[in-house]
Structures are given as C-alpha cells and as structure tokens.
C-alpha cells in the first residue's frame, strides 16, 4: 500500500460573518495517498472548496483556519512560513479552478502564464521555459502549440482554457493536483475530453488528484476513493466501488437516488426533503436529522462520530451504532 501524501487531521476553518460564525470546515479528517484520485462530493456550501483552499492556505478573510493539522509528507503545512508555503504552491501542490474564463490573466499571453512557474520554481532560462511550455501545451492536447504560446486567453474557447490551466498546473510536476469542479462550467462533450486528459496525466505522471465535484457521474468515473461532505462535516468515506454499491449514510443514499440517470427513467425522482441547514444555526445534533427519513431520538440529541466499518468504509450515522438500534 502506498503512503499518505496528504493527511487532514481535525481541520477546522471558520468564517466570521456579520450574522455569526460559519463553521465551513468542521473537524474534517481524511487522507490522500500517493498516486490516488480522491473525490470530495457534496452540495454547495458543504465546505468542499474551503477544505481545498485550506490545504493551499489560501482561505481569504473573513475565513480563518482555527484548528487541526494538514500533514504533507509528514510536515504540518499550517506551521510553515509564508515563504515556505509559496515554494510548495504551484510547485509540489498545484490547483485547477472551476471557471477557466476568469482564472487566467487576460492581459498576459498564454505562454507567459505557463512559463512563469517554470521560471520561478524551476529556475529555467527564458528559452528553456519557452521550450518546456510548448511541450506542455502539446501534452494537454492543443494543436499548433507554438501559435497558442503567443495568444491571449480571450482567443481560446472554454475547453482550451481549461487545458491551459491544466498545463500550468502540471508545469512543475506536482505531487498533488487539486481540481475544484474542473468540468462544471464545460459542456458534456468537452467535459469528456478533459476527464480523459486528467486520467491520462494521472497514469503517466502518477500524480495524486484531489477532485472536488458535485456530480456523482464524474465521481464514478474518476475516483479511487470518495469523501462525502455535508454542512462542513465528512459524513461518509469509502473506496469508490464500496460507496456506490453500499452507501451507508442516508444522505449519500438520497443523493444517489435523486440523480436522474440516462436510460434508467423513473416516473418520479426520489427527493431529499427540505434543504441544507443554515450554517450559523448548527447545534450538537446530526446536521442531516431534519431531512432524514430514518431520524431517531438520538439523532436530534447527539452528533454521530465518523466510525470505520468493513471494507475501509467510514460513516457518521447513528443507524450503524448500538445507540441507534
């Protein structure tokens, strides 16, 4: 078995807003192994993106990391100096964002933006950086690489810009690639191209990928291991086949049933009633209790822990504890 590359230990990130403290990431622990694709799934506001931003230490005010550790190769990233963190960002840990339209600088050429990390982190000369940049553009499957090198972001389509983002992320051979909803803004046909590209990259460079998504279809296709989040907490974690065959948490079960699937039409879709709780009004109960069809007395009184069951399957639900039986 391969080693843990990243280990989140009891991470807590809060946002101090006018209406109260939002515990966006609330006691989150999981790890990513070398060369593995880990998908974090959940609905908007569940804390999946904040978890990734905490890992990069890019949480903006009013947000703040208030507790826990993030171990990278055994070293706590939260204790590093800003200068040391800068060395890691874009070099050993790289990130692709959701919106390829706004994550490239419109006034700099594509070449400039790919070459920048190569010049800074790898200390390449201008010529070497240019040569490597063109290789990277070819690697991500864009034809006429030399011409693209000199063009500006507005000249490229959404799919091509996302490929460029991937090229920038790969420029310094990162150990971990964080992809925050990398295909959400793209059409399905382009999404298929980008997912194929990411799979090839993982195979070729053995890069670990932390992929954040809300699409269970993408999870099924890409993930080795899945973490499901709800209202700032990890509520279930399992290897991908185990999760889809045997989802334990009622929320995960609901998500799988609520998604319309092609060629598997039902007259009525299953729905999870209600909506995500207000993040400033969370108590000491199971956060899913008011939407759960199995809600028991204990669920409104006490919060379940994330316990491990068979087949490396973790879940936080009273249904599987003796208190709930």
């Amino acid at each position: 078995m391969s080693n843990n590359l990243i280990e989140f230990r009891n991470l807590r990130t809060n946002f101090y807003t006018g209406s109260g403290v939002v515990k966006a990431v609330n006691d989150v622990s999981f790890s990513i192994r070398e060369g593995e694709t880990l998908c974090v799934v959940g609905e908007s506001g569940c804390g999946k993106s904040v978890t990734a931003m905490s890992l990069m230490r890019l949480v903006a005010t009013p947000g703040k990391i208030v507790g826990g550790e993030i171990l990278y190769k055994g070293e706590d990233l939260l204790k590093l100096k800003e200068r040391e963190m800068r060395y890691l960002r874009g070099n050993e840990i790289a990130m692709i964002f959701q919106d390829p339209m706004s994550s490239l600088n419109p006034v700099l050429t594509i070449g400039h933006q790919i070459a920048e990390p190569l010049r800074i982190h790898k200390k390449l000369s201008k010529q070497e950086a240019k040569k490597k940049s063109i290789e990277l553009i070819e690697l991500v499957g864009i034809p006429r690489a030399a011409k693209i090198y000199d063009s500006y972001p507005h000249e490229l389509s959404g799919g091509m810009r996302q490929r460029i983002m991937i090229a920038i992320a790969l420029s310094c051979d990162p150990k971990l690639l964080i992809a925050d909803e990398p295909t959400t803004a793209l059409d399905v046909t382009i999404q298929a191209q980008i997912l194929d590209l990411m799979r090839d990259i993982k195979k070729e460079f053995n890069t670990a990928i932390m992929m954040i998504t809300h699409d269970l279809g993408v999870v099924a296709e890409m993930a080795d291991h899945v973490v499901v989040m709800y209202a700032g907490k990890v509520i279930e974690e399992a290897p991908v086949h185990e999760l889809f065959n045997n989802p334990k948490h009622p929320y995960t079960q609901g998500l799988l049933k609520a998604k319309p699937v092609i060629s598997n039409r039902q007259d009525r879709l299953y729905t999870i009633p209600g909506q995500v709780p207000n993040p400033v009004e969370l108590g000491e109960n199971c956060y899913f209790n008011d939407r759960c069809e199995h809600c028991m007395e204990i669920c409104v009184q006490k919060q379940p822990d994330l316990n491990i069951y068979d087949n490396k399957h973790k879940a936080a639900c009273w249904l599987y504890e003796k208190e709930g039986k």
Binding site: M160, T189, A192, G217, E221, A223, F244, I262, Q275
Partner: protein
Amino acid sequence: MTQPLIEVKDLKKYFPITGGVFQRTVGHVKAVDGVSFSLNKGEALGLVGESGCGKSTTGRTVLRLLEKSGGSVHFKGTDLHSLNKKDLRAMRPKIQLVFQDPYSSLNPRIKVGEAIGEALVDHGIVSRSEVRDRVKEILSICGLAPYHIDRYPHEFSGGQRQRIGIARSLILKPEFMVLDEPVSALDVSIQAQIINLLTDLQEQNDLTYLFISHDLSVVEHLCNRVGVMYLGSMVEMASRDELFSNPLHPYTKALLSAVPVPDPTKKPERIVLQGDIPSPANPPSGCKFHTRCPFAKDICKQQIPEYKDAGSNHYVACHFAGEF
C-alpha cells in the same frame, strides 16, 4: 387532426456583427437557422445541445422576446410575430418563460409577493384586493408557505427562488411555458424536487413545455419528445424513448455517451468528439457537424443533409443516419 398548440416553421434568428468605424454590418451570427417543430397541448419538448447551439435563442424567439429574422411561429393558429403591440401584450399571459438563474432573475428590492402578483395586476386579471389571496394560493401550489409573501428574495435559497420564478409564471395560468435551463443552477437534491414539481404542475394544469437544457438526463425525465440542436439547426428529433434507445445522428450518440454514469463498474464506451463547437458566425460548409464527426465522408463537406423522417416520426439530418 387537431391543431398543434405551437407551430414553429423554418424559424431564423440572425444577430448582426458590426465592424469598422461606421459600425456597418459585416456579417451575421446565425444563432437559429431554420428550425421547425410543433407542439401539441400537454406535450413537453426538450431542446438539448451544447452552449452556443441556439437553444435559448430559439426559446426566446418563439415567445417573441426576440424579433425573428425569418420563418413563423403560430400559437393556436395566431402568428405571434405579426401581432401588434397591444394584441401581443394580451397574449403574453398565455405564453410564459422561466429563467435559468434564480439569483439574478428576481429584483432584490421587491418583496416576493409583489414580484409574483405584479403581472396579475398589470394585465388586469384580478383586482388589487384579490391579488394577495391568489399569490398565497400559488405559493403553496409551488411548495412554499403563504407567510413567505412579505419576504425579500435574499431570504430564500436557490431552490426556493426557482419555485418563486415558476410561481411568477404560473399565476397567469399560462398554456405554454418555455423553461430555460430551470434546474441547471441547482444542487442534485434540490434539482430533483424542482423536476417533480414541474411534472406535477404539467399534469394538473395540462401545460405545454418547451424545456431547454444541456443535461440529457433531466430532459429524459421530464420530456416526452426531444430535439437535438447543433450550431443553430435541429439535427435530430424523436420521441423520448426512441431518441434515447435508438439515436441516429452521430452527434446525439456522442452527446449521450459523454454523460458520466454514476456507476463505477461501467467503463465508459464513449465517442469523444475532437475539438470545440465551431463559430456560428462562420459555420462549416455542408453538414455543420462534419468538422467534429468521427464518421465524416466527402459528401458531408459538400452537401447539407436533409432533415427528414427516418420512420415513426424520428427526424434526423445526416447523410448516413443510423448506419453507424
């Protein structure tokens, strides 16, 4: 044969491209280029395609929110595009639109009750004193509570806002609704709630939907007929079961195969299309899809394939339909 509720014939919408010092028209973006379909009462037609294929423009031109460049749209036998302002306005309550983004389609300074009731008063359908009762009624039909009437949009979640958007159209008792990506901005658990609501409303009120979406799985659940658009043209149209079980156009096949299936045991057998959708200002010659089609032959580059019935009302525009 009964008259269709909506009949669209050879609809065209071109947007001019201006250039030079004098802003002269130098070309046209053919956003919708000869689209025809008809809808019977109680039907739900899904329009699918990638961004920029003209599906939203079709929806808006059908409602005459955009002026057509050619063709015709008949609603119950009346040509919508030849009505004068007054008659068109009288027709508006019958033909309604629901927008994609529930965040930007509601005025943040107007109470929800007013936003929903506004049109009723404007069209003189009910008196001011009755409006609140009607709004409360429609709120509960759409799964909200009557006490929500005096709240502002920011107090609602995305799913609730979309319910407000639907209530706002529904209160006018429309016969025909264009739904422009109504669930795309919503999370899975909320999306399922809205899809079920739309299904119920359609059954209860005998509504006719034109449902615009890029998500094939949603379309399959909600619509009984599906049209696939590419670069402003309809490339295939058939009943839901026929289209999903027996797609004839290679573009439809590629679209269907590109949707990720939430089952890790199924390895994707997909037709990955190369490249991007070409610019609609300068579409390829012949079959517009030939630049990305894995099966393209010489004839596809030269001749525009005819959009014709391949049997049992399955329309397709491809020289080699069903041969792959």
